[in-house]
């Protein structure tokens, strides 16, 4: 029995268990419901708004972009919070005390947060198809594009969540170091209005990060070819999308293990104890 492979399979089982437990938890059900209702309400109230010069209705244009943003948001903020919290509550320390425990833990996190996207996609996509017309213009080919953008987008952004969760000093700081940058990036990444509406330098900044490209990839999957005129350079830039997302994925694969190892090295019982005392103080 190879202990590393064994730990990875235990980690997969852990990720699956966490996913099932999360589906059964009222807290997480509430989160999915909130995201679904919020997104649909936004689309519904703008269902008659037409996007200038394209003849496209806002829900058609915005839905793929919002999906893109939610994927990025979910797999960055989710793991960031989870990791910051589990550093403080001792989950991580438990795994550090096991042979090959960290490998199992990280595997579990990766699977859990990837699976967590499925209910989110379902609560938004299924009602959207019922409420709006012309949501998916490209049939099976479009769904194939959704699949690879999803996978590549995950690989590009999930490690960023793990990195943020490893370096933030405490759970309370995830808002500042995780939420704030992601919300800012979403705002400038052409999710709610086309990216051309912004200054050139902001467009350049947005195109460094993966959120814009996940949104673009999703739009290329859902929207008709005519809609390409709204994009920069009148092109879906599929090749560039793959390159940018792959580059972020490689960055994640190289940096994340180091950051995780450094973070795990510093884990100890007294650190968990300190976090507990700090949290009690926080509540008072």
């Amino acid at each position: 029995m190879n202990p590393t492979r064994h730990a990875v399979s235990l980690g997969l089982r852990r990720g699956w268990t966490e996913f099932v437990l999360s589906l059964r938890s009222p807290q997480d059900q509430g989160f999915y419901l909130f995201m679904g209702v919020g997104t649909l309400a936004y689309l519904w109230f703008n269902r008659d708004t037409e996007l200038e010069g394209t003849g496209l209705l806002l829900p058609t244009f915005a839905l793929p972009s919002i999906l893109g943003a939610l994927i990025a948001f979910g797999v960055v903020i989710g793991p960031a919070y989870a990791l910051a919290m589990e550093r403080e509550d001792g989950t991580l320390l438990r795994h550090k005390a096991l042979p090959h425990g960290m490998q199992g833990y990280v595997t579990g996190q990766l699977l859990y947060h990837s699976l967590g996207l499925l209910p989110l996609l379902l609560v938004i996509l299924v009602p959207s198809f019922l409420l709006f017309d012309d949501v998916m213009s490209n049939g099976a080919a479009g769904w194939a594009t959704v699949a690879w953008v999803l996978v590549l987008g995950l690989l590009a952004t999930l490690p960023l969540g793990m990195i943020i969760g490893s370096v933030v000093p405490s759970v309370q700081k995830v808002g500042t170091w995780g939420m704030l940058p992601i919300i800012t990036l979403s705002a400038i990444s052409g999710i709610f209005f086309p990216i051309q509406a912004m200054w050139g330098w902001l467009q350049a900044v947005a195109q460094v990060f993966p959120i814009y490209w996940i949104g673009l990839g999703m739009r290329s999957a859902f929207l008709p070819d005519a809609a390409v005129t709204v994009e920069l350079g009148d092109s879906w830039r599929t090749g560039t999308t793959v390159l940018v997302l792959a580059a972020w994925a490689v960055f994640g694969m190289l940096v994340t293990p180091r950051v995780l190892r450094r973070m795990a090295r510093r884990q100890s019982g007294s650190q968990v104890q300190q976090a507990k005392e700090a949290a009690l103080q926080w509540v008072r």
Binding site: A7, T91, R94, A97, P99, G101, S268, V272
Partner: protein, 313 residues
């Protein structure tokens, strides 16, 4: 298959520490700790808050890097201990709110799985989950959410998680804090069983001196970052000069006298005062008296033999 875990030579101590130092910036927490734990021995580390107990134990667990000194646990340096070493060491952690949605059974099955590759013919790993649940007294709560367990039940789960890999060396940092008397008694039985039947070497810290006296083959007292006493509870008590206290009243006045040998003292007392002696009480110093005397002496920087104070009032 993992490497053979039984490679430590027979007779080699489970823990051997020489000149261990730990400094945070200017602040020296450990200033030269020497200690040994022999195979199968239960050793208790006592000391006031801030003496460096937790730091010492975390260095031995491999969770913290020492500033200086030589540390060997099961024949390896914990800082470099690999996964095969990790499989032979058990750590009982103070959990807080982790795995709130899991059940004890599910968590033990998941965490125990990591030890399967390290099972050997004479040391099957991990323990069977049902047996473990029964042993720590969690059978009835095995399928409840961990988030709904009481503090005492959580501590039992912590112990179960710590020993699930059938460790050869077990570390416990204040294992019975927050346990009720029955749970504490059960826990003591469990420690005895691990040490006697499984030959597990155990190092624990506690503030409960009765617990130390009951559990430990040997007691170490850590004060100001050094081990100031090392021996069985009896041996330590004898180290304190005046290990008994005699109280009596004479003509309405009350007296206290500390002495190493109370019998001749009391004989002399009656010879001098006869029937005027009333309310006689002879009390042998216990571990607590010894502990307090030693801590006071070393904290005040005095290195001479500790004594029970002699007073008259």
């Amino acid at each position: 298959m993992g490497p053979d875990p039984e490679h430590s030579a027979a007779g080699e101590p489970a823990i051997s520490v020489r000149g261990l130092q730990m400094t945070y910036g200017e602040h020296a927490v450990l200033t030269g700790v020497d200690l040994d734990v022999h195979a199968g021995e239960v050793v208790c580390l006592l000391g006031p808050n801030g003496a460096g107990k937790t730091t010492t134990i975390e260095i031995l667990e491999g969770f913290r890097l020492p500033s200086a000194g030589e540390v060997r646990v099961l024949g390896e340096n914990p800082a470099e201990g690999g996964d095969a070493w990790r499989a032979r060491v058990g750590v009982v952690l103070q959990s807080w709110r982790d795995h709130a949605r899991w059940t004890p059974r599910r968590l033990l099955e998941q965490l125990g799985g990591y030890f399967t590759p390290y099972a050997t013919a004479d040391r099957p790993r991990p323990y069977e989950v049902d047996w473990l649940l029964r042993t720590v007294g969690l059978t009835e709560n095995a399928d409840r959410k961990i988030g709904t367990l009481s503090g005492g039940q959580r501590r039992r789960l912590d112990v179960a998680v710590g020993i699930i890999g059938r460790p050869e060396m077990l570390f416990l940092d204040e294992p019975t804090a927050g346990l009720d008397p029955q749970a504490r008694r059960d826990f003591h039985d469990l420690v005895h069983r691990l040490a006697d039947l499984e030959g597990t070497s155990i190092l624990l810290t506690t503030h409960d001196l009765a617990e130390a006296e009951r559990l430990a083959d040997r007691i170490l007292i850590l004060v100001n970052g050094r081990i100031v006493a090392d021996g069985s509870a009896d041996a330590l008590t004898r180290q304190v000069a005046g290990s008994a206290e005699v109280r009596w009243a004479c003509d309405g006045e009350r007296f206290v006298h500390a002495t190493a040998d109370p019998t001749p003292f009391v004989r002399e007392l009656f010879r001098q005062h006869g029937d005027r002696v009333t309310d006689l009480e002879v009390r042998r110093a216990n571990l607590e008296d010894t502990y307090i005397a030693m801590v006071q002496r070393f904290e005040s920087g005095d290195r001479t033999a500790p004594q029970l104070a002699e007073v008259s009032r």
